[in-house]
């Protein structure tokens, strides 16, 4: 896609100017259609790895599922040689979005409109009536099937996680994640075989960036999510770390839940309170922690720019793909997994624990609701800048009451969007 460098974003209120004060975030980045278009070009088709799904969603040759690169519909396949491919879900002929199933298994894709046929690599393999009928009509003589395949993305996987990019000279996933975030990514995606437990889908009437912000925002965690503090999954005094990569685009929210009965002499009142409540649960199994990862953190939320979040909380494992659908709405695809060697009881433990997350989860409900409220505020009221004032940019990374990671993401965003 061509980059028109003279393109300047203008909304109803004239040209937008990003405020000089780095604690201010302008609200037109969440609502302006021109900014949205620019994101496609500069971010989703730019120099980024876009998460599209997990290896365990295409475990067998011929398996496929629908996914997205930014807002663009794609199909993810595993071919007969075991190779993973990502290509546009848009017929090269007239443009039909041909793959309509959530997931399935196939040896080819046939567009229903005129039966153009594509293989699992996205190559065009058959065109009906190529030579016309009775010597008349049909394709031009110089029609070259090899040039008429589906638009393909470069693919890379790490630890069973599949990424796609349109960028032809993209760095490795390891370099893309960087030395600070990559080890945390590897701690969750440690190479052990994953097992798909299921997928949640929801529409959230908010700008997709707000979700990345939300998971870079430890300030809200103990204030909005009373469930976390009530039952001791996270209280502000827990050992925590909030690393970001050197650009500020990727981040982590890492925390360690206190184990066992808190020691009254050393632990604070909040921990003690939470412990008591957790013991009052009618079914405390929900909060059981089966140790399974080689990591000091019992909670790890990774925000991988642009549209992946990866969660490991106690024994809940999920990825969330954010699919923009215009500036004011995005779709979330939550892919929930366990490990291939989970026994039946471990699967059930994960299913029980997953009540905490997802679009009916104790935390999921609150984040989805509050982001809807937030977009309402941005969309309906007089324009003004949002505040991200808390903490310092050079503070120690174990600072909890901070908005450092949000500022970091927008520093990067502003740069890459050339705003």
């Amino acid at each position: 896609m061509d980059v028109n460098s003279s393109m300047r974003s203008t909304g109803g209120q004239g040209p937008h100017v990003w405020p000089d004060d780095k604690t201010l975030i302008p609200d037109w980045i969440y609502t302006d259609p021109d900014i949205y278009d620019r994101e496609l070009e500069k971010i989703f088709l730019g120099r980024h790895w876009n998460y599209v799904g997990l290896d365990c969603e295409v475990s067998e040759p011929g398996d496929y599922f629908r996914s997205y690169v930014g807002p663009l519909p794609v199909v993810v396949t595993r071919d007969m040689d075991g190779e993973v491919h990502v290509f546009e879900n848009r017929c090269a002929h007239r443009g039909v979005e041909f793959c309509r199933e959530y997931r399935g298994s196939a040896d080819s894709f046939i567009c229903p409109y005129h039966n153009w046929t594509y293989n699992l690599q996205g190559d065009l393999t058959a065109v009906p009536f190529r030579r016309g009928v009775k010597g008349q009509g049909g394709m031009p003589k110089d029609f070259d099937m090899a040039k008429r395949g589906l638009r393909k993305f470069h693919v890379a996987t790490r630890g069973g996680v599949i990424f796609a990019t349109a960028c032809d000279d993209m760095e490795s996933i390891e370099d893309y994640l960087g030395p600070v975030i990559c080890p945390e990514f590897d701690a969750t995606f440690d190479g052990s075989e994953m097992k798909l437990l299921g997928v949640h889908r929801n529409i959230l009437p908010a700008n997709w960036k707000l979700y990345q912000e939300n998971l870079k925002d430890p300030y809200h965690a103990t204030l909005l999510h009373t469930y976390l503090t009530t039952f001791g999954l996270f209280v502000s005094s827990n050992e925590s770390n909030i690393p970001t990569d050197k650009y500020g685009r990727h981040g982590g929210l890492l925390s360690r839940r206190s184990e066992g009965r808190p020691d009254v002499s050393t632990e604070d009142a909040a921990n003690m309170q939470a412990f008591k409540k957790a013991m009052e649960l009618n079914d405390p199994r929900v909060l059981d922690f089966v140790r399974e990862f080689d990591s000091k953190w019992s909670g790890s939320v990774l925000t991988i720019f642009p549209t992946l979040t990866a969660l490991r909380q106690t024994n809940i494992l999920n990825t969330r793909l954010l699919v923009p659908r215009g500036p004011n709405e995005f779709m979330m695809i939550w892919t929930v997994f366990g490990r291939a060697d989970d026994d039946e009881e471990m699967v059930r433990h994960r299913l029980r624990q997953n009540n905490i997350f997802g679009p009916a989860g104790f935390l999921g409900i609150e984040d989805n609701e509050v982001l809807k409220f937030l977009q309402d505020g941005l969309r309906k009221s007089l324009p003004r800048d949002g505040l991200a004032l808390l903490g310092e940019d050079d503070e120690p990374t174990d600072t909890i009451i901070t908005e450092r990671a949000i500022r970091g993401m927008y520093r990067y965003y502003r740069d890459v969007m050339e705003l």
């Binding site: 959530y102 997931r103 798909l196 437990l197 299921g198 997928v199 949640h200 889908r201 929801n202 529409i203 959230l204 009437p205 909005l224 009373t226 469930y227 009530t230 649960l281 009618n282 079914d283 929900v286 779709m331 929930v336 699967v347 059930r348 299913l351 029980r352 997953n354 009540n355 997802g358 679009p359 009916a360 104790f362 999921g364 409900i365 609150e366 989805n368 609701e369 509050v370 809807k372 409220f373």
Partner: protein, 165 residues
């Protein structure tokens, strides 16, 4: 012939019991009485709200998954005491009820359900449409659910599902 008639009559009677049960159940949820909702289940009941695409792919993930009444009580507590969500009206309709078979004091039944939500300054909209696959137990105090599997067609959830269905 007589036994066929008896069987038909028994299923019709069971359907009537299930319908009465479902109307009361819907009314309890429409009133946000999630503590009361818990009381429609046996101690070891399974309550599973699952997206149809997951169910049909053999994937077990539930939108809500409660093994036993204790987990339902904890959900009720969390909803009423820790959760933040927008105010709303709930309208749960349960239709097309059928009793499929009776095994001693168990009734296997199905029904369709529709949850319509209305939020402040928003139009009413369908939050969930799905099918219950139920196992009821006849107890001295009337029917109780031993299993309610809510398989929903509305896979793309509009923001979030706050209350059970």
């Amino acid at each position: 012939m007589a036994t066929v008639m008896d069987k038909g009559a028994a299923l019709r009677e069971a359907r009537f019991e299930v319908e009465e049960f479902n109307y009361a159940y819907a009314d309890t949820l429409d009133r946000f009485d999630v503590d009361g909702w818990v009381e429609y289940f046996t101690e070891d009941a399974l309550y599973h709200v699952i997206a149809r695409d997951n169910a049909e792919s053999g994937l077990p993930l539930g939108l809500i998954y409660c093994e036993g009444k204790a987990m339902m009580k904890d959900r009720a507590y969390a909803l009423l005491n820790t959760e933040m969500f927008a105010p709303r009206y709930l309208h749960l309709s349960i239709t097309n009820t059928r009793a499929l078979k009776i095994e001693s004091d168990l009734i296997h039944a199905v029904a369709n359900y529709t949850l319509i939500e209305t939020l402040v300054e928003e139009q009413s909209r369908v939050q969930q449409v799905g099918k219950y696959r139920d196992i009821f137990e006849r107890t001295p105090n009337g029917l109780l659910l031993q299993e309610r599997k809510c398989v929903f067609d509305s896979v793309m959830i509009d923001n979030c599902l706050v209350f059970p269905v």
